[in-house]
Point group: C2
Chain length 214, copies 2
């Protein structure tokens, strides 16, 4: 995809509309109109709306993976490596917020066959994070993350930037990247463990509030 001007136009219109209204909220006619092609020739370019979504997601993850490899290729220190992963992820989600939001929100919209290809690419990207955290744990610099919870927590934290950050707002990209790197590295630190939560109390409140037994 995205090899000639028409395909690029379709792809950009799709990202804009999917980000705004969700995949299921965008009709083929609306997409064709936004991309300035007829519905018939739209199908010629994209196969199906679902294939277009899968292509957009796969390409976006492929770009993120390449960029992350490029950012970390010459670094040995796991702390510096993780700092670069966080910085790149945060900046990508800040400046490409529509594209990344589509990747993050629309996995549910893909049928299993198309989904697998996208998930494989996402897993390859997350593997970079997992390896870096593991490397840091082996070097005694990070706590270990056997169940991958820290990795997931940090990825969601950094992806969340696409949902609230505005490049036109008051917070500079440098401040954002620096603060998020700081949070990520502190959270993985090997210092004294902070106090633990009171789960019993939380269970009681959740049952009282939502009627859900947990």
């Amino acid at each position: 995809m995205a090899v000639n001007p028409t395909q690029t136009r379709i792809r950009n219109a799709a990202i804009r509309l999917f980000a705004k209204k969700g995949f299921h909220g965008v009709g083929i006619r609306e997409l064709a109109q936004a991309a300035k092609v007829s519905p018939a020739s739209l199908y010629h370019y994209i196969g199906s709306k679902e294939e277009l979504l899968a292509d957009i997601m796969w390409e976006s993850l492929e770009r993120l993976l390449s960029a992350a490899m490029l950012a970390t290729t010459d670094v040995a220190d796991p702390r510096e490596k993780l700092g670069r992963l966080v910085t790149l992820h945060v900046v990508a989600h800040a400046v490409q917020s529509k594209e990344t939001a589509v990747v993050d929100n629309e996995l549910r919209s893909l049928a299993p066959k198309l989904r697998k290809r996208v998930i494989d690419k996402r897993d390859a990207y997350e593997q970079l994070w997992a390896e870096t955290i593991e490397q840091g744990a082996e070097a005694g610099l990070f706590r270990s993350d056997h169940d991958g919870l820290a990795r997931r927590a940090l990825l969601e934290m950094c992806s969340g930037v696409a949902r609230w950050y505005s490049t036109k707002g008051e917070i500079k990209l440098d401040t954002l990247a620096s603060e998020f790197t700081d949070i990520a590295l502190r959270s993985l630190g090997t210092g004294e463990a902070p106090p633990q939560p009171d789960m019993d109390r939380c269970r009681t409140i959740v049952k009282y509030t939502w009627g859900t037994k947990v």
Copy 2:
């Protein structure tokens, strides 16, 4: 809303469908069918589809706010208070993943007038987090968070649970809450600052990869 069985049925069907297909992807007929009412009587109950969404979001945030106040009302130590906020938020997003996902994803779907009421409620909830972090900073227990970046980072991290956690999976709710509390408290800790990111390198890579100047 949600004061009689029909309203509860409509509300639950709407949450299920909005979470699955997005607000714009769900038609009135489909919603009526799922809630087992006629389209005409659906309008009698909900006003409009957008008002129904706003009600669902407002109610969900109101419940989260009440639960969070209940969870923290008798705590003085800001670390313990933040631990309780994190635990409650994580557990709520784990067990009420559809409802909370609708709240997190569909703000874009509300017109300004309806949106304001929902945002005010969300702000009241986030204010609890802001006050707790500030209280910790004043006591010298947390780093200060003047620009609210740590608060946003932690909220997104905890809300992200609704996107990937399954109560049927291998990770227990207690482990999840405990690890997330640990991450949150460590990240706010006042210990030595970790190394800073190399933004210049990241800028170059982002420009090379996405063609975006940052």
